[in-house]
């Protein structure tokens, strides 16, 4: 690794950043999908009748037990065998999003169960419907309580967006590979720069979530243990 390699890499950094933007888009997509489905699955696991609960647990088990790369391939190549073509980007959002939902649901389930049952009872005694209770009493508290666990999940899936490289999404890893395939001595500096980008994003993200956590903090409402 020479100084020359670094000076050759420098003008290519914008290309890497372009790739990184795709990782961030992926991240936004998969986290949102994971959040919506994760909350739904957690609600089913806590409130729904037994057969639905078992189904939700099986869903969780599958998406937690299969490697992300295998999921990516299933979602990318699976539909095409049914004649449905799906873009690599969409396949990645779906595969990683469903997987994340299986982890997020665990976080939310724990948070929901940490809220004293007396509060639901009190809301019911005011004449609030079951859905109203979930919306106005349970979710506002559960979402706050989830932030700490959610911050872990964020760090984890941020890094996992690089796996979309495996099915050909043109994200930062793919851009780095393009660069280095044409110019082999660039490999080490290029991947070190990518690593630094993620290091910065990880810490920036966690700092942001910490900030959000402090802003939303309510006395007496903290994640226990």
């Amino acid at each position: 690794m020479t100084l020359e390699a670094w000076s050759q890499l420098w003008p290519k950094v914008p290309v890497l950043l372009q790739g990184l933007v795709v990782n961030l888009e992926l991240l936004a997509g998969l986290l949102s999908l994971g959040l919506v489905i994760g909350v739904a699955v957690a609600l089913v696991e806590v409130y729904a009748p037994r057969p639905f609960r078992a189904l939700a647990l099986a869903y969780e088990w599958f998406f937690r037990g299969v490697p992300e790369l295998v999921l990516l391939f299933l979602f990318y190549f699976g539909p095409s065998q049914f004649g449905v073509d799906i873009s690599a980007f969409l396949a990645a959002v779906l595969a990683l999003g469903f997987r994340s939902s299986a982890y997020q649901s665990q976080i939310f389930r724990g948070a929901i169960q940490a809220i004293s049952p007396g509060q639901s009872l009190a809301a019911r005694s005011l004449g609030m419907s079951r859905l109203g209770v979930i919306r106005h009493v349970i979710l506002p508290q559960a979402l706050r309580l989830s932030l700490a666990g959610w911050s872990n999940e964020f760090s984890s899936v941020l890094k996992d967006t690089t796996l979309a490289y495996g099915i050909g999404v043109v994200e930062v890893m793919r851009q780095a590979r393009y660069l280095t395939a044409r110019n082999f001595p660039l490999a080490l500096p290029a991947f070190i720069v990518v690593a630094l980008m993620f290091l910065i994003l990880t810490y920036a993200g966690n700092w942001g979530i910490g900030l959000l956590e402090r802003r939303l903090r309510v006395p007496g409402l903290e994640a226990r243990g």
């Binding site: 690794m1 390699a5 599958f62 037990g65 299969v66 490697p67 992300e68 790369l69 295998v70 999921l71 391939f73 299933l74 190549f77 699976g78 095409s80 065998q81 049914f82 004649g83 994340s100 982890y103 976080i107 666990g149 872990n152 999940e153 760090s155 984890s156 899936v157 890094k159 996992d160 690089t162 796996l163 490289y165 495996g166 890893m173 780095a176 590979r177 280095t180 082999f184 001595p185 490999a187 080490l188 290029a190 991947f191 070190i192 990518v194 690593a195 630094l196 993620f198 290091l199 990880t202 810490y203």
Partner: protein, 227 residues
């Protein structure tokens, strides 16, 4: 459409699985060693040893803050720039061991710090040196406490080892992908590969639960990679 499966694929997938298991086992063992040392440095390296504390901390932050895939790429495609060349398997092993050491360090640290402070004092009061106390009192307790997060890490690494196919290793994922591409049967192959991973995960979960029960000590209560 109809699903097609050729039983002749199974022995090949089996060989891939063997490589996956070897890779996982080796990286977990190396990671445990490295992780324990890093954890001890982060908890006990003070005074004139504090540069080691700083070094260990920087290592943990660096490896936890960057994607394993990037680490693998650096090892396999980057290091040749400075004259270090590994086979795909060794690249995978090096990257995975370096990575999991950082995570395991955090689990060990958590476990060591949850051993009550009084235990160290009691050990010193019996006349044990600090190192003896760590070795005979703190570590045996910490190792038991670390089993649940360590089990999660084991399963995590088993699944994540699938990335080594990207540098050309013939692990379960790699073999599955090769057969799939050759026969143009992606759905079938990846369903089978998924099922095999699930089965191994289940087996490991049950085994680690059993181990935890076997090693349980009354009164010694117990945390993993979030995802």
């Amino acid at each position: 459409m109809n699903l097609v499966f050729d039983w002749a694929w199974l022995p090949q997938l089996g060989r891939g699985l063997v490589l996956t298991v070897e890779l996982t086992a080796a990286c977990m063992a190396l990671g445990a060693l490295g992780g324990l040392v890093l954890a001890l440095l982060r908890v006990y390296a003070r005074g004139w040893l504090s540069p080691l504390y700083a070094l260990a901390s920087a290592y943990v932050h660096l490896f936890r803050g960057t994607p394993l895939l990037v680490q693998l790429m650096i090892v396999h495609f980057g290091l040749p720039n400075v004259g270090i060349v590994f086979t795909p398997f060794v690249s995978g092993l090096v990257a995975m061991a370096l990575n999991t050491a950082a995570y395991q360090a955090e689990y060990f640290r958590g476990a060591i710090q949850s051993v009550k402070a009084g235990q160290m004092m009691a050990a010193r009061s019996v006349g044990l040196t600090r190192l003896q106390a760590i070795r005979h009192v703190i570590i045996p307790q910490a190792l038991r406490l670390v089993i649940p997060p360590w089990s999660n890490e084991l399963i995590y690494m088993l699944k994540y080892s699938s990335i080594v196919y990207m540098v050309g290793a013939a692990d379960l994922m790699g073999v599955g992908r090769t057969i799939a591409a050759k026969n143009f049967r992606f759905l079938e192959l990846f369903l089978v590969v998924a099922a095999i991973y699930l089965a191994v995960v289940l087996l490991l979960t049950l085994t680690m639960r059993w181990v935890e029960k076997r090693l349980r000590v009354p009164g010694l209560g117990t945390s993993g990679r979030g995802a």
